[in-house]
């Protein structure tokens, strides 16, 4: 398979973010610039992986070495922080902006998806965008759907812009995120890559559609 050129990778990432954000932008009465702050925050929150997630996963891995815990449970224990840390990190600023009613000319329903899209783009650039190796179309396609996944998840995490919904939205986002990662890790050696990518794409689109519906519903 031929390598995807750098410029095309970035175009795909931006295209994915544009598609993911469009329904939220269309349904917002005010767009303003506040959502751009949230988008930037989402990108910056990628550092949570290095600062918190990986150290926590290393600690948990060390703690379970030599224990009687079955391998499926060990995998779940080590994967869970990926959902926990990333969803909390992405949602911190949007949740504060929503709770304090700091609108900055932007509809509150835009803060969550913008942070998710920022995180998704930054993660895609980090993992495959700048990778010097021969990155194929499958990896880029996967990132396309993962950007949509992150956008939908963070919209869900902050309850579509309604401050009280974070109490169930954030735990739901954490569980869905960790669940998809667990599924991918568990299936990677048992099914072919295209089947796995279809699962990732289907879950991503489902989460995104649900988050759009939630952002349109009233309390």
């Amino acid at each position: 398979m031929e390598a995807v050129p750098y410029w095309m990778r970035f175009v795909v990432f931006l295209f994915a973010a544009s598609i993911a954000l469009t329904p939220f932008l269309i349904s917002s009465r005010k767009i303003g610039f506040g959502w751009l702050i949230s988008l930037f925050w989402g990108a910056v929150s990628l550092f949570s992986i290095h600062l918190l997630q990986v150290p926590l996963q290393n600690f948990l891995t060390s703690a379970i070495v030599g224990s009687n815990i079955p391998m499926w449970a060990r995998t779940a224990i080590v994967i869970f922080p990926s959902g926990l840390i990333q969803e909390i990190a992405k949602a911190v600023l949007p949740a504060i902006l929503i709770a304090t009613k700091a609108r900055l000319g932007t509809s509150s329903k835009l803060y969550g998806p913008a942070a998710g899209a920022g995180f998704g783009i930054a993660e895609a650039i980090w993992l495959v965008g700048l990778h010097p190796g021969a990155i194929g179309a499958v990896a880029i396609l996967e990132r396309f759907f993962v950007i949509i996944f992150h956008t939908g998840l963070t919209a869900l995490a902050v309850g579509g812009g309604k401050s009280k919904r974070i109490y169930w939205g954030l735990p739901a986002a954490i569980i869905i995120h960790a669940g998809l990662n667990y599924t991918a890790v568990s299936l990677i050696s048992t099914i072919d890559i295209w089947s796995l990518e279809i699962i990732i794409a289907a879950v991503s689109l489902a989460v995104w559609i649900v988050s759009i519906v939630i952002s349109k519903t009233k309390d």
Binding site: A63, I64, V65, V78
Partner: protein
């Protein structure tokens, strides 16, 4: 929300109390690695098809014990008495690059020096290195093994001790990981070299387990190593 916090706290407390992780690595007092030995292994895939052969060479010199693994393109020098790693190097290939990672162990630090060239330039000694970087870590207080010695130091381990906990230095990530090696009851196994009584050893890395079998009789040669994808099987020595 309160219930979720209580569940999370319970899980964290359980994890903290699961494994004390004390360092228990112990080599047998009257044992040493072979002074000069050449061991031949066949490498088999999951379908039991032999892919290639490799040779492991032990060589005792004035510097210490050299262990060379030809298929892994690695060599390591160990202190002949303590079996602590002194230095080593390993080549691997990644993303179109040929990468050599050298390791040097001092009294208080372990250094990993990474050199990377374009794969097509790797054979040309005049071609510049694209990447040249040294990183270091403090030596842990507890005993540790180098990744390239792990399998080949085990013939010197105290097989009467059922569990060994130690840290493993992984040069590719310049990090230490925790390992528990659990020694099972001796069992009969068959390799291309014949039938042997062997100690099964499970290397527990947390989310991955690997298994090896070591000959019951001294010098406790490694007979099979199974990393889940490939198997080394002892052919002759």
């Amino acid at each position: 929300m309160k219930e979720i916090i209580i569940i999370l706290l319970t899980i964290i407390v359980m994890i903290f109390t699961m494994n004390a992780g004390e360092n228990t690595l112990k080599f047998a007092e009257d044992h040493a690695l072979p002074e000069h030995d050449t061991l031949f292994y066949g490498l088999y895939d999951a379908s039991d098809i032999k892919l290639i052969e490799t040779i492991i060479v032990y060589d005792l010199t004035e510097e210490g014990v050299w262990i060379t693994d030809f298929i892994n393109e690695s060599e390591i020098l160990l202190d002949a008495v303590t079996l602590k790693p002194i230095s080593g190097s390993k080549m691997f290939h990644n993303a179109g690059q040929a990468i050599i990672i050298g390791t040097l162990v001092t009294e208080d630090s372990i250094y990993a020096h990474l050199l990377a060239k374009n794969e097509k330039d790797a054979a040309d000694s005049t071609a510049p290195f694209q990447h040249n970087e040294t990183r270091s870590l403090p030596i842990p207080k507890s005993a540790f093994l180098h990744n390239d010695q792990l399998l080949y130091s085990f013939p010197a381990i105290d097989f009467t001790q059922k569990r060994h906990d130690f840290k493993l230095f992984v040069p590719a990530s310049v990090s230490f990981i925790d390992v528990a090696a659990i020694i099972g009851k001796p069992e009969k196994i068959t390799t291309p070299a014949g039938e042997f009584e062997a100690y099964p050893v499970t290397f527990d890395f947390g989310t991955v387990k690997q298994k090896a079998w070591y000959e019951l009789e001294e010098p406790n040669r490694m007979l099979i190593y199974d990393n889940g994808t490939l198997q080394y099987r002892f052919e002759k020595g």
